[in-house]
């Protein structure tokens, strides 16, 4: 039994894949957070959140870290020493979370960037790319499992009285409508004013997250998991004003979840057969 588990683990660690999927996710991840950090750097949005009354006393330190993030994300985007860039970005964001703003979204960034630092993806879709190289598959699997764990934990923790009663959604939806004149459609606006309707949405949200976690962990195909991820994060963006974390999670699911069982083996066989026929 133990030898079977060890064998399977060894096979998993030794398995190889095309670097394209991880490279595409690296590029999407870097682009999404580059936009976030560039906006934050130029508008000082986080500094204003930390001290809306007076100029934020440690603004220079925050801006320095944001600059590091912007440069790191540019390198990650272009594939210039991507593993080092991912490591630097993970560290800089962790310092922002630890020193300034303890957001789980920032910790998600750090964990994901650390996983990207473990992955080889620089050879594909990067400057001077060699597209046909093979790289270890386990970092890609870990990135999918990481997304599954986040959905599982987040969905599980939502099974509490405030979320399930619709109270949490009531607060956020009412606030955005009143303070930001958020353009809710008329019918949705009526739902936002009713705890009963928000409770239904809350149950659907928690259920969708747990379901997505199970599907991702089971290696279910992309065509089933991507619509669910888009549904969850599309709602969060349109109704709750949360864009960047959601975009990053959708990219993680859409670019890294498997196309289907054996899809990659089929594509390798197709290439081999094409090579034989050319010869």
């Amino acid at each position: 039994m133990r030898s079977t588990v060890a064998e399977r683990f060894s096979r998993w660690v030794a398995a190889e894949t095309s670097p394209r999927a991880i490279a595409r996710f690296r590029i999407a991840f870097a682009a999404i957070w580059l936009v976030y950090d560039a906006i934050d750097l130029f508008t000082g949005a986080t500094a204003h959140q930390l001290d809306p009354v007076d100029p934020f006393p440690a603004a220079w330190a925050l801006r320095g870290l944001q600059l590091v993030l912007v440069f790191g994300e540019c390198a990650l985007l272009l594939g210039v020493r991507p593993r080092t860039a991912a490591l630097v970005c993970a560290g800089a964001r962790a310092v922002v979370a630890w020193r300034f703003f303890p957001l789980n979204d920032f910790l998600y960034f750090s964990v994901t960037a650390l996983l990207l630092a473990l992955a080889r993806s620089g050879g594909a879709m990067a400057l001077g790319a060699r597209a046909e190289e093979r790289v270890p598959r386990w970092p890609r699997d870990l990135l999918v499992l990481q997304a599954a764990w986040i959905y599982f934990a987040s969905g599980l923790l939502k099974l509490n009285p405030v979320w399930l009663s619709g109270g949490h959604l009531f607060v956020r939806l009412q606030y955005l409508g009143a303070a930001r004149n958020w353009p809710y459609p008329h019918l949705f606006g009526r739902c936002a004013a009713s705890l009963a309707c928000e409770s239904v949405l809350a149950w659907c949200g928690a259920g969708a997250e747990v379901l997505l976690a199970v599907l991702l962990a089971a290696g279910v195909r992309r065509r089933f998991v991507v619509p669910l991820a888009i549904g969850i994060h599309g709602f969060a963006a349109a109704a709750l004003n949360v864009f960047f974390f959601g975009a990053s999670m959708v990219a993680q699911v859409a670019l890294l979840a498997p196309w289907g069982r054996g899809a990659e083996i089929t594509s390798v066989r197709r290439k081999a057969s094409a090579a034989r026929s050319e010869a």
């Binding site: 809306p52 934990a153 987040s154």
Partner: protein
């Protein structure tokens, strides 16, 4: 390496359970780093408006909402008292006459209204 990345996340979720959270129970999760408690904690939000516009770190604004970036970044506090602290600080900075009105949305579905005149 895998353990270094994943064990803290398992520990964070276990910490939520240790602090009293059980699915469908009465305890609402608290903020715990790496527990992925996004939207699971209890929140309060207030729409805070000023008359005349209050002088803030990056300009004069008629509300905290107007002082926030159009998307994603919201200037918020974690409790009604937290919002009062911001209003008090603005009162001290700007001085009278400044009138602030607070409309606060609470997770039990109620709305509380308050007004503060700087003296």
């Amino acid at each position: 390496m895998i353990a270094v990345l994943f064990l803290p996340q398992v520990y964070a979720l276990a910490l939520q359970v240790h602090r009293g959270f059980v699915p469908f129970g009465r305890t609402v999760p608290e903020r715990v780093a790496l527990s992925w408690d996004m939207f699971a904690t209890s929140v309060v939000r207030c729409d805070v408006r000023f008359a005349p516009p209050a002088s803030m770190a990056h300009g004069a604004f008629s509300s905290l909402g107007a002082a926030s970036s159009p998307v994603e970044w919201d200037i918020v506090a974690s409790s009604v008292d937290g919002y009062r602290v911001v209003v008090d600080a603005l009162c001290q900075k700007a001085g009278p006459p400044l009138h602030a009105s607070l409309v606060c949305f609470l997770p039990d579905g109620s709305v509380s209204r308050d007004a503060i005149d700087c003296r």
